[in-house]
Amino acid sequence: MIQELTESVDQLRDEAQAARKAARQLADPAKREQLFASAREKFESAIRRLERGLRNVRRDQKEHSSDACAVLERLSQTYGSLGGTLRDFALTKADQERQKMLAEARSQYEQGNTYEDERRKHCGALDTYNMLQLLVVELLGNAALINDHEFETKLQGVQKELERQVNAGRNDSWALADLALVSFLLGSPADHALADIEQRNVHASFYETTHTVITNLLNEGLGSGGDLTKRLEEFQRLLKRKGGLA
């Protein structure tokens, strides 16, 4: 039963991702809106199936059996993808509409992080995607948060979790890229943020991955052209140079 569920949901998620990707490349607003709506609908349908699947699995098995963890993994990822879709969509809007969509994206990341947290605590998962994106989307909505004490505490929480996971053996370049980003957002100068990570004997793809993360944030308008944007651009240049990127 679980295999049938995961296969059908994976198919639906692939279709949604394809629609999301196509929407991002379209210039025609009406067509773009249609594709975003289609991606959203598919992700929401996948979530409904997964949540029902989780209830079914838990009825017959332990709360955190391997089947339940497999469903939880897809649930957290799908909420994350839905959050990302809404974030992409928000960035095509202006003013109030943009804020409204960003708030919706935030709420999806939040739910994704609830499931992700359950996986971290009970399934041994090494994942922080929703946890970090939740903060990134808040920052996209309000760049002034970078100087907010409460926000800084949240960033420190993510940093602590990322470090725990990296020390526990997580070594994918996304984790290290996130770690560099968090360290940078917490005020470390770009070269320091990188130097800390470089001590970990990183794979060459780390620079490229981190560069992608920073470029995406700049494209999304993080910092709105202010001081944070300038620092991000400097970080981007440094990554390009150190990683030998074209």
Partner: protein
């Protein structure tokens, strides 16, 4: 196809050959299925036959997979048009909607709500089951519209299962957690 576990993932040229070959095989499978069994031309009533239903399910799965693969780079307008046309046929005849409703019924039969231990039932389960019952009601209506002797046994089965679900929901909705 996920090539990450293969050594081809370290060699771009080789991994492209693997991906291209996988795509060609999938295209060939789709064409073979469509030419040989013509699943896109099946009528809703044909799906009551398990062999036809299986062929239709394979057609939907393959079409969906292939559309994604073709959209990812290997440009093939003609192939995409063929898939779109076949899918349009399948949706237009009502076969796709019928297949979805029959799938709901198959799932109900695989894990009948009336066999679930009542102490484990939650409010959300009752809502899910009521949703299934509503879909089975639509399936009943479709089967009645077909007005064919071949539908009678299925219709009785669907109606009986729908009533059992409704009875279960009615019985448990007050006590569910």
């Amino acid at each position: 196809m996920d090539i990450a576990p293969l050594y081809g993932s370290k060699n771009t040229a080789f991994s492209n050959v693997i991906l291209s070959s996988a795509l060609e095989k999938r295209c060939a499978a789709w064409c073979y299925l469509v030419e040989r069994e013509r699943p896109h031309k099946l009528r809703p009533i044909d799906l009551l036959d398990e062999r036809c239903a299986d062929s239709f399910r394979r057609f939907l799965r393959l079409s969906s997979r292939l559309k994604l693969d073709l959209a990812r780079g290997a440009r093939d307008d003609h192939m995409r048009e063929r898939i779109a046309e076949a899918e349009k046929d399948a949706a237009g005849s009502g076969a796709k909607a019928m297949a979805e409703l029959l799938e709901v019924w198959a799932k109900v039969r695989a894990t009948p709500p009336w066999l679930v231990e009542s102490s484990k039932v939650k409010q959300a389960d009752c809502a899910d089951w009521q949703d299934d019952a509503d879909k089975l009601k639509i399936l009943e209506a479709r089967l009645e519209e077909l007005n064919n002797q071949a539908c009678q046994l299925v219709l009785q089965g669907v109606r009986s299962d729908r009533k059992r679900i409704e009875g279960t929901v009615e019985r448990l909705k007050g006590s569910a957690k």
